[in-house]
């Protein structure tokens, strides 16, 4: 039977002879990531299940990242529980409050590799599709079952094929492309489906830019977003996963897709895009949104807080000052990102321009701490969700954009095309 990438990976992880879309199959999981939801929910569910030992302590990553370091006693208690669990269960991979955001940390540790089937207790676990892995988000109870057994049931998804040819124009980023794609699809346009990306753009993108795109596939409802192996991924794995095995997966020639989209950036270049409140699938080219004054500009998160994101921000801010009525908050996605940006001078440029650089955490992205919005405030943000109240007060408004657009907007005080500053 001809398979899509997702079907092929699922088929390799189940006892069923064949799989087809709609089938519910039991799969073995290669790796699971859990964050604060472990301490807040999963631990007590495991107790209720009567569970004693993790199925494989080498195949689990525990991260304290959402409220890091703890801003209140509730978060602190959750972190304590996570640390206790890690010790008691002898979990091999642990990242405490100093390490960074789960999806970035997992990638940096070389734990996402081609052909793997990965689950995370977080909806943006689709991110690892950038590494040619099948990965999806589930919640506490399902994560508990995986921790106990290493297995879970999944419905085999239909797939949408997305071909993108051409190159990114200057200061247009993969964030702009994915905002356009999910807006074209709508908030449930890929519900239950696998979004599979192909074409010369995808083959040539950096690993970080691929992660941004797979990260946001869930905003169109997708179960996973997957890309084929590329040379950038190969280099990444050589650096971060040396000596560990993997097997790249390509789709079969006559694999069936329930839908398809195609973009040719050579004929039809994508402009910098902005998603208007209160939905990530509500995007327009920046030239069509009018004058939007901002109070806060935020660069960070598992979507766009990586080194390349901080570097393009520095390129735009170099020698300039941010607008006097704007605060620019920058949260590197991981400790490693922070250190690299410090060593190559990026952090200094950002701070000279007036940015506040925080430790690595989810922080402002989830309205937790380090950049919560007040009543009626407006923020332009490099994150992935602008749901009402997501980053603070219910009357605040969040516009999603690329780091380049956020940086340009921080200078002018209104949401601005990064090619114009």
């Amino acid at each position: 039977m001809p398979y899509t990438i997702a079907e092929k990976i699922i088929a390799a992880h189940t006892h069923e002879k064949n799989v087809s879309p709609g089938d519910i199959v039991d799969v073995s999981v290669d790796f699971i990531m859990v964050h604060e939801v472990l301490g807040s929910r999963i631990v007590s569910i495991l107790e209720e299940m009567g569970f004693k030992k993790v199925w494989d302590p080498e195949k689990v990553l525990v991260v304290n990242d959402h409220w890091a370091p703890a801003p209140d006693t509730e978060s602190a208690q959750i972190h304590v529980r996570n640390r206790q669990f890690v010790r008691a269960q002898d979990i091999k991979h642990f990242c405490d409050v100093d390490g960074g955001i789960c999806h970035q940390v997992l990638a940096e540790k070389g734990l996402a590799r081609p052909g793997m089937l990965i689950v995370g207790s977080d909806s943006h676990s689709t991110t690892y599709g950038a590494f040619n892995a099948f990965s999806t988000g589930l919640a506490a109870t399902d994560s508990a079952m995986i921790l106990a057994t290493g297995e879970i049931w999944l419905k085999v998804p239909e797939a949408i094929r997305i071909d993108i040819e051409g190159q990114l124009p200057t200061r247009v980023m993969s964030k702009d492309i994915i905002l356009k794609i999910i807006t074209d699809l709508g908030s449930d346009g890929a519900n239950y489906k696998s979004m599979e990306f192909f074409g010369s753009l995808i083959d040539n993108l950096s690993v970080g830019s691929r992660m941004t795109m797979c990260n946001m596939t869930v905003e169109a409802g997708a179960k996973c977003g997957i890309m084929p192996m590329s040379s950038a991924v190969k280099d990444w794995l050589e650096k971060n996963a040396a000596g560990r095995e993997y097997s790249p997966v390509s789709p079969d020639k006559d694999a069936e897709y329930s839908g398809s989209l195609s973009y040719d950036l050579t004929d039809d270049p994508v402009e910098p895009m902005v998603a208007l409140p209160h939905s990530p699938v509500n995007s327009k080219p920046v030239s069509e949104i009018g004058d939007v004054e901002i109070d806060q500009a935020f660069i960070g998160s598992c979507t766009n807080g990586r080194l390349e994101d901080l570097e393009i921000t520095a390129q735009i801010l170099k020698g300039k000052r941010i607008h006097k009525d704007v605060r620019l908050i920058i949260t590197p996605a991981s400790r490693r990102t922070y250190i690299e940006a410090m060593r190559n001078g990026t952090i200094e440029i950002l701070m000279d321009a007036g940015a506040i650089v925080t430790n690595s955490t989810c922080g402002a992205c989830i309205g937790g701490h380090l950049g919560v919005l007040g009543p009626s405030e407006v923020c332009v943000s490099s994150t992935n969700r602008n749901f009402q109240g997501r980053m603070g007060h219910p009357t605040s408004r969040v516009f999603l954009a690329s780091p380049a657009t956020v940086a340009a907007s921080a200078i002018t005080g209104i949401i601005t095309d990064p090619r114009e500053v």
Binding site: W67, E74, D122, S123, A139, T141, D142, D188
Partner: protein, 167 residues
């Protein structure tokens, strides 16, 4: 869940794209006590929800109910508030799964969003997926709950289901 189970309750009606942040905002997720967290249910989209809701009530919604975060807290706060069932034009996948995991049936009923009035009483036949708004007496035919989800529901949620499998 018994084979013939028919639920009855009043409808609380929402539109399209109600996401999990709207059901329960991220900033309340550190609260370990569900009763405390449940006080903030639908705080942004329907601030008086916790006053209006009664044991056995039914949520009726449009397309893509429960999109966004994977938080299981979303169906849990509904359950804590006494919601017995969610009916929508469509569900986001993680919410759908989570709802059954915590023991709340979710049924896809095409066309339901403009067939039910706010606070109207509904009867829901869980096995057949048939919904009857008692005001109009119309018979709305929803999708049948898949076998796997029925198993989980019958067990009383995923924890009990898991226990029965691995005992």
């Amino acid at each position: 869940m018994r084979e013939s189970q028919v639920l009855e309750g009043k409808a609380i009606v929402f539109g399209d794209d109600i996401n999990t942040d709207q059901i329960i905002q991220g900033r309340y997720l550190q609260l370990l006590d569900y009763a405390e967290m449940a006080q903030h249910t639908f705080e942004v989209v329907m601030p008086d929800f916790v006053q209006v809701v009664e044991e056995g009530d039914i949520i009726v919604a449009g397309r893509n109910f429960g999109g966004g975060s994977s938080r299981e807290e979303a169906p849990m706060v509904l359950k804590t508030n006494g919601i017995s069932c969610v009916l929508a034009e469509s569900f986001a996948r993680i919410f759908y799964r989570n709802a059954f995991n915590v023991g709340i049936p979710a049924i896809v009923v095409k066309g339901i969003s403009n067939q039910v009035k706010e606070l109207e009483r509904l009867q829901v036949n869980l096995l057949e997926g048939i919904v009857t708004p008692l005001g109009s007496g119309k018979r709305l035919v929803g999708e049948r709950i898949p076998q796997k989800m029925l198993e989980i529901l019958r067990a009383g949620g995923a924890v009990e289901w898991y226990k029965s499998l691995y005992r």
